[in-house]
């Protein structure tokens, strides 16, 4: 490989890693809810769409950027609380399949509601982040991807600090570890769930803004759950760290495969390559790279 080929490889890898951050962002929303309640929240994609639509509609209606952001965040938190109250609490102690079906239904309700409230056309979303690539040592990097990665990084750091250092965060980890013991200790499961759904709502808002700025705010945005699934399989459904690492890994391999293998199979690899990777991981490590490491003495 010559020097330019090498630079190109670096460029593709960095581009892939940066878009992987965005996959991780969606996957983290899943992980938060799965860890504490064992619910695979299929509605996460619909929440991303709902958040982005809410924000765009507010901005288009002339609401200033920061205010729109705050209102959208408040709405997502309220939506999280409402879902916990009306869907999860009544279904507590039901089988995981029942809960999964409930979130599947929920995703249609949220999408339908979004459609009724905000309409169906595609909205352009401009976050004011430059799209121009810049050059470092001969490698082109997208400014937008870099800023998006930084925002995602700050969000993850914030969540990590919250769960590590606050009492609410400790309660969250206890519930995730042993729900029955947490109940017996006097922790309130409903409160923890409500907090987690609210946090997932905020994560959905951030993901929705970044993805929306990239692809336009439209209904296909809710399909990014399908991008998050392979990430979850690879990283494990219950690991935030796993979601990040797997998001990066899938982002990078996907782009590399597209560029270097794509020409041989006629392109379009990006759409399905992540699933092949996930399938291979499933065969070798069913719990994912970071999933459910049991802390136990033998």
């Amino acid at each position: 490989m010559d020097w330019f080929g090498f630079l190109f490889l670096i460029e593709v890898t960095i581009g892939g890693l940066l878009s992987g951050v965005m996959y991780a962002l969606v996957a983290i929303g899943f992980v938060l809810i799965y860890k504490t309640s064992g619910v695979l929240n299929f509605a996460q994609g619909a929440m991303v769409l709902f958040a982005a639509l809410t924000f765009v509609s507010l901005v288009e209606a002339g609401v200033p950027f920061v205010l729109a952001l705050l209102i959208s965040a408040a709405i997502m938190v309220a939506l999280g609380f409402a879902i916990e109250r009306t869907v999860l609490r009544p279904l507590a102690n039901r089988s995981p399949m029942t809960l999964f079906m409930a979130t599947l239904g929920l995703s249609y309700i949220i999408e339908g509601a979004a459609q009724i409230i905000w309409g169906t056309e595609v909205h352009r979303l401009d976050l004011g982040i430059s799209n121009a690539p810049f050059q470092v040592a001969g490698v082109f990097i997208s400014t937008f991807d870099l800023v998006a990665a930084a925002i995602a990084g700050v969000l993850v750091a914030g969540l990590t600090a919250f769960f590590r250092w606050t009492r609410t965060g400790l309660a969250f980890r206890a519930v995730a570890d042993d729900q029955f013991a947490a109940l017996a200790v006097g922790l309130r499961l409903d409160r923890t769930w409500a907090t987690v759904w609210a946090a997932a709502g905020i994560v959905a808002l951030v993901a929705g803004l970044l993805w929306g700025a990239r692809l336009g705010v439209q209904f296909s945005l809710s399909l990014i759950v399908l991008k998050a699934l392979p990430v979850l399989v690879l990283g494990g459904f219950d690991s935030v760290l796993g979601a990040i690492v797997a998001g990066l890994a899938i982002g990078a391999t996907e782009k590399l495969a597209e560029v270097y293998l794509g020409p041989f199979v006629g392109g379009g690899i990006e759409g399905w390559f992540a699933y092949v990777v996930a399938l291979l991981v499933l065969l070798i490590r069913p719990s994912g790279l970071f999933g459910q490491k049991l802390v136990e003495r033998f």
């Binding site: 009492r167 206890a174 013991a181 109940l183 006097g186 922790l187």
Partner: protein
């Protein structure tokens, strides 16, 4: 005799709406006493203790009849959280430590459940460490990586962090070496003596339970069959054989 603090009045309980596990158990726990709840495997000890904390619904069970009174008030339908706030604190069978949390974090969850503030948490934490110095040494270890005895101490310590008035312990001796069992019972007896902590203790190990308890109750197939001062029950050799799953005759080979 001191006054009753926790009273089970003809308590019935069932699992899955059908499998009856308790058939009208009555039991009175008196203030500042240690009461032993004895019975063979499946007698209903765990079910009775879970009923007291209203933890049955979380395991597809429910109280189907009778009343539970705490300090004279009917608490049968109080939430688990409300029970903790009132000082009625369970320590579950099989320890159930949070394995992925450190020992100190495990202890802290007990205080959070009671709703204590940061300053109070630090204070009770020191008290628990004084009682179980081993826990202090292991404070930063993940609970799942500590020994069975340490996990039992952590489970008891986690309960103590909620500042219990009545402590409900389910088989604290389970799976532990005799010396560790003695250490744990000595600590519980000391707490009872020095702070007046009321204890209701389910045990299969009737010998050690009767040694430390003031009062004892035996249940069999979900019914109370015997009740009296622990020393009386300990003096009757037939009890073990009849109700506690011991062998009636010495086995000859």
């Amino acid at each position: 005799m001191s006054q009753p603090v926790l009273e089970f009045d003809h308590v019935y309980a069932a699992y899955n709406g059908a499998i009856a596990a308790l058939h009208g158990v009555s039991l009175t726990v008196r203030k500042s006493e240690i009461t032993a709840l004895l019975g063979a495997n499946g007698a209903g000890k765990t079910t009775l203790l879970k009923a007291a904390s209203n933890l049955l619904p979380a395991g597809r069970g429910q109280i189907t009849g009778g009343r539970i009174r705490y300090k004279g008030r009917d608490v049968t339908t109080d939430t688990p959280h409300a029970h903790i706030r009132n000082g009625l604190v369970p320590v579950l069978e099989g320890r159930r430590c949070f394995k992925t949390l450190s020992i100190e974090e495990n202890l802290t969850t007990g205080a959070i459940g009671r709703g204590l503030e940061r300053a109070q948490i630090a204070q009770v934490l020191e008290q628990v460490y004084d009682l179980f110095p081993k826990l202090k040494l292991r404070r930063n270890s993940l609970a799942g990586l500590t020994s069975g005895g340490e996990q039992q101490m952590a489970a008891i310590g986690r309960g103590l962090m909620a500042r219990p008035e009545v402590f409900l312990l389910d088989e604290p001796s389970m799976g532990l070496a005799p010396l560790v069992v003695v250490e744990i019972f000595e600590t519980l007896a000391r707490l009872n003596r020095e702070t007046g902590l009321t204890i209701l203790l389910a045990e299969q190990n009737s010998a050690i339970a009767l040694k430390y308890a003031h009062h004892a109750t035996v249940i069999e197939n979900g019914r109370s069959v015997l009740d009296g001062p622990a020393s009386d029950l300990a003096a009757r050799a037939d009890i073990r054989a009849l109700y506690l799953g011991g062998t009636p005759e010495p086995v000859r080979i």
